[in-house]
Symmetry: C3
Subunit: 174 residues, 3 copies
């Protein structure tokens, strides 16, 4: 756990004005992304990535040790589609509602070819039948986005979660 | 509960640029709305609605079944004023602090006459005397806003909450 | 606790358009501020304040009674640096991850010399080893920001927390 600085911290390399303008775009992207997931439209989830996009979920503890071995790893839309199909068909986990709260969207860099380095904090709230809404997972998205097909797409999303105890049934994308 | 797609999902019908611009306006509106409620100024709450505005609170479970029968229903400012007066006078519920966290503001459509279809996720945190801050309710606002009196007003706010167990004392607006 | 209006409420004195534009700037400022704290870079924390900046943390219960006696009070960067050094060296508290969620950013006024009155709601989530992510503290920042050194700096940040039970080990800035 952090007692000293996190290796995950990225300094902002662009002007505040540019960072604000890009953060608005990334924020809008994340809002669409989460709306689709919260509505259970998991089969649309791969569409937010490039054809060869990377998606992984890693515990902060591992990420801080520079061991990005993850809970989930998918490389390319095809792997994501497989995953999405599996999730939409499985009945292994109890029905629940998902609700994403995303805030603290931050753009730290922009490359010459237009790709964007961004991050955002998230809380995934879950509600099971006859239960309260609880914090299922909290953490940070570390993203690389590119401009393609007339909008932003994820070249890479690394979900780093702080939560150290995760229910065994986690399969739903974040 | 959702295993398949939510009937509540709305596709975005406007350009990303327009959606971002309008979302900023709606966000600012919600910030004022919540600041008033969190400060306990419930008698100002009806002012955020049009004269014939509609306000309702519905469980997601019912909304998904297309049964928008609600926990609360008010049609028109007068009904809201009655409600606000009742709340401000009642001592039936234990004193508490309210704190709204609103995120994921999303504008999905804009009609020719300038009304806006928007949504946003919210968490209402409550703190009772000698207690921690807990998640009282989490869900989504589904709104129709219109431009009137030099700003935005709610023509309709449908609060859909995920939380399936609600304390009996809920009377405060969201 | 509030049964009547909070004395903390401030009406907005500027146009909605100006409020939105300034809120974007303040939001970006808070995102940087929180990213530094969440990464454990506490020694950089005083840099977000002016040389003679004020920082205090007060329970809402006391603030509502107009008794801004606080859990924490620091006047000037030097006091903050002392505090930051003490925190970064202490091992008195169990290791944990911090995650700030900031939303509902609201600018209520702007003075002729360019200082900004702003507020924002926050939730500080903490995760201890082998534990879930829990709400450690929730409340509101009440800020006065000034333009200096090519950006915004805090002239004063008053953190008012709703949470009435705070773990004894609270020393980390918010």
């Amino acid at each position: 756990m952090i007692e000293q600085a996190s290796i995950l911290f990225r300094s902002r390399k662009i002007s505040p004005e540019r960072a604000v303008a890009l953060a608005r775009e990334v924020e809008a992207f994340n809002v669409e992304y989460c709306a689709v997931l919260d509505a259970g439209l998991v089969e649309q989830w791969p569409d937010f990535f490039t054809e060869d996009g990377i998606y992984r979920i890693t515990a902060r503890e591992n990420a801080e040790l520079n061991m990005p071995v993850g809970l989930v790893y998918a490389h390319g839309r095809n792997m994501m589609i497989d995953r999405a199909v599996a999730i939409s068909r499985t009945q292994m986990f109890a029905p629940r509602y998902n609700l994403h709260m995303v805030s603290n969207t931050r753009v730290t860099d922009e490359t010459q070819d237009g790709s964007i380095l961004a991050q955002a904090n998230f809380v995934l709230l879950q509600t099971l039948v006859e239960g309260p809404s609880t914090i299922h997972m909290a953490g940070t998205f570390y993203d690389r986005l590119v401009r393609k097909e007339g909008g932003l797409l994820l070249q890479e999303r690394q979900v780093i979660y702080d939560t150290t105890i995760i229910a065994n049934d986690l399969v739903y994308p974040l």
